[in-house]
């Protein structure tokens, strides 16, 4: 774009001053420059394409290592495997007749994620509102680093906190039989999802123009009414994206759930009993892979769990990206 601007300004000057010819060299006059420019561009593009290659490689290898799990000879056995994987709750890879039912793991992942969102979304949205519309500038300058530090603390440190501090506390103060359970994992995941939710939703709310707020105030609405009835609906796509990104962070999290969820592969019953131990997809991969011989059925099964996870986060990513592009359009429209 800068080049274009420079070219047009040069063109205008030419007309005014009256150069005999364009100042820009033609490819034939500056062959080396032309070639090196294009070659350089090609090299730069190739370097940039590394990310594409990385994504493709990740998909290729995870898919390649999970195919043998399903492709066991006949189509019928493959379908039986798929059925077992998605509909069976028994994950007993080292039994004499191994069972690879990942339903409890998938449910476990969703369970802690939703648990985390139930806590993190209201808190995060309120904090986002506070930071975008209520807090004075100086306070915002203090709060931003706090949120950044919250996001920067490594997941293993959160997991450590869950095991060493939170679990004993839950056990003594709430009388749970075990401190490492779904509630513990959800609480910590909520803390980890908070920074994402706050910053993305704050951005989304800030992107809603000043005019809209002023119009609402002009009609006599209070700040709460403006925020709830005008700004939040206008920013809904960004807020949804914030929730989805927070969800992605929570569902892909490994160390915290591995350390804090108790790792018992079963679906909680009754469903609301958060004091039960559960097991997630990520924790299963992390916990089992170390003891699994390469190219065994169990190894392929773990890659299949990884693939499920990858597909899940990939689709969440696509949706949130679509939503965020909506915000960008809003932003441009607002201006």
């Amino acid at each position: 774009m800068a080049e274009n601007a420079a070219q047009t300004s040069v063109g205008q000057k030419k007309a005014a001053v009256g150069f005999s010819r364009s100042l820009l060299l033609t490819p034939s006059e500056d062959l080396v420059g032309f070639l090196s420019g294009h070659l350089g561009r090609a090299i730069l593009f190739c370097i940039t394409a590394t990310s594409v290659a990385a994504v493709l490689l990740i998909f290729y290898f995870v898919i390649r290592e999970s195919i043998p799990f399903f492709y066991t000879g006949t189509a019928a056995s493959g379908i039986a495997r798929v059925k077992e994987f998605f509909l069976d709750t028994g994950w007993y890879p080292s039994a004499t007749v191994p069972r690879y039912g990942a339903l409890a793991l998938i449910v476990g992942s969703l369970y802690v994620t939703i648990g985390a969102l139930v806590i993190a979304v209201p808190l995060g949205l309120l904090a986002g509102v506070y930071l975008s519309d209520i807090a004075p500038f100086s306070l915002r300058q203090i709060c931003k680093p706090v949120i950044e530090i919250l996001a920067a603390i490594p997941s293993v440190a959160y997991g450590f906190f869950a095991v060493m501090v939170l679990a004993p506390w839950l056990q003594t103060h709430l009388g749970f039989s075990t401190g490492t359970n779904a509630m513990n994992a959800s609480l910590i995941l909520a803390v980890m999802a908070l920074p994402t939710i706050i910053s993305v939703s704050e951005d989304a709310m800030s992107a809603i123009g000043r005019e809209i707020r002023e119009a609402s105030y002009g009609l006599g609405a209070t700040r709460a009414e403006t925020m709830i009835k005008v700004v939040l609906p206008a920013a809904h796509s960004g807020i949804l994206a914030a929730v989805l990104l927070g969800m992605m962070r929570a569902i892909g999290e490994t160390m915290v759930v591995w350390m804090a969820s108790g790792n018992a592969s079963r679906i909680p019953s009754p469903w609301w009993d958060v004091s039960q131990s559960i097991r997630t997809m990520t924790a299963t991969i992390a916990g089992d892979m170390g003891e699994t011989p390469k190219n065994s059925e169990h190894y392929y099964a773990l890659f299949t769990v990884g693939l499920t996870l990858l597909v899940f986060t990939f689709s969440l990513n696509l949706i949130s990206e679509y939503l965020l592009s909506q915000i960008m359009r809003n932003k441009r429209g607002g201006k």
């Binding site: 730069l44 940039t48 930071l131 706090v146 950044e148 440190a157 450590f160 700040r223 996870l309």
Partner: protein, 553 residues
Amino acid sequence: MRLILRQFLDKAFTLAAAVSVLIIVGILLVVLVPMFQKGLSAVFFTETIEFRKLQKETHNRGNDEALQRRIEQTNAARKPIYDVLADFSLGINTESLVKEAKDIYQKYGEYLNYHNIPKDQYTEYRKQAKDIRDTMIAALESDNKDIVLANLDKVLAQEENPIYKDSPVQKLFILALQYQKTARTIDVAKRSEYLTNLQEVTTAIRQLFGPLPGEALPPLPMDQYGATRMDMAQKALHILLWDEAWVSDGDGKPLVKKNISRREQFAGTALEPLFDQVEKNIDVLLMPQFRCYWQYFIDDWVNSHYFGGVGPEILGTLMLTILAMVFAIPLGVISAAYLVEYAPDNHWIKLVRMCINTLAGVPSIVYGLFGLAFFVVTIHAIGKPCILAASLTLSILALPVIIRASEEAIRLVPQTYREASLALGAGKFRTLVNVVLPAAAPGILTGIILSLSRAAGETAPILFTGVVAMGPIPNFGSPSEWIRNPGSLFGGLLQPTRALSYGSYDIAVGDRISMLVPHQQFGMVMTLILLVLILNIAAIVIRSKMSKKLRGY
């Protein structure tokens, strides 16, 4: 009325929003404060003489002479305690006394043989000695105090008998005397109870002061020293002074924990003064002193993190992240520059952007799976979990973070800079290298530091690709070797390493010995958080300086 309600709701909303921010700040404090509080105690604590001994013996730190003098002082102070303990335990452990009595009887037989005693006299002596032995054993095995004392008197009546002069039986009389002393003070019927309690007391004494004199050196370093820290000494002292027991509090009620004073348990016995001696003289016995153990950050562990520090873990984390950055920074910055300065607005570039976003959203454990399947299994030059595979995996994880931050930074460089450079006749590439990138450098640096901190904290991607909980420090050989054979450097990269992040996991969940020493557990995590926080604060400072500079124009 309606207006008041609306105003009230508005105030409530504002309050709720403010409270939510306060909650978040509170969460940060709740997470960080205990970590730092307990973690810092791994570095700053009250050391004891045992810690100084440990430091001297494992790392040769400290003044030899002064330490020797101190050790002698404490040994002198400890001697009476050991004496009391030895005295009492000799009298109480009747099983070993019985064994000893039988032993002595046997030796007496050998003694008689040796001295060529005539046959009939020999049988006579043996019979008498056997009588003494049996009386002694009866005394030892009886639960009735009167019987015990009567039997002991019978035994001791023989003491003056000239036939036993200089014979092994003399030793039996000494035992009898000792046991008499003990039996007079204790309730003989509760002998076994005393014995179990005595064992607990001995264990506590060992925890406080190390192995008892005359004992063989235990194989594990954790048993070779007494309490190295005052907080651990206090715990051991508590075990010494109080017996924790679960007692029933009426029928049907759950058992409650109760502390029973050992002084009462051993009231009236020879052991009673020991407790006062230890409690009152603990300062002389252990010589506590404040210590800033900064070497925690460079020392290797001793006895699986029971002693020592996290040096190799820090080194491993730095190696992994810096190597990852070596791969990721050029790729990331060049990609960002291309995307901002050169990229046409077409579908390919949209695809590239989508891939970068996807990469940022891939769960970290999937990176680990990919690293395992690609770097470890597929690339034969690597072929096993090692530093190289782990840092390559981390570099892919850091790539999108660097690209996004650099893109942002390059975009923030004012357009006028580029125009000025172009107007001076510089080409596009020259403008990028000489003007745009230097101007964007602080922003790019911020992004790099942030991705460095993220890579340092990641555990899941390196779990299967090159990290171990316990293992040797990677050996890279010497610099002269690198010059002769550059391959040796590469060989160093093919070893697995320890890292702070995985170490924090292992020390909390995997390692049983570390569970005895919470300060070591929290110390490791604190080091990791400290590292990440320092990096983040550096990034925040650079950014705030940069935004000031940009505002200045």
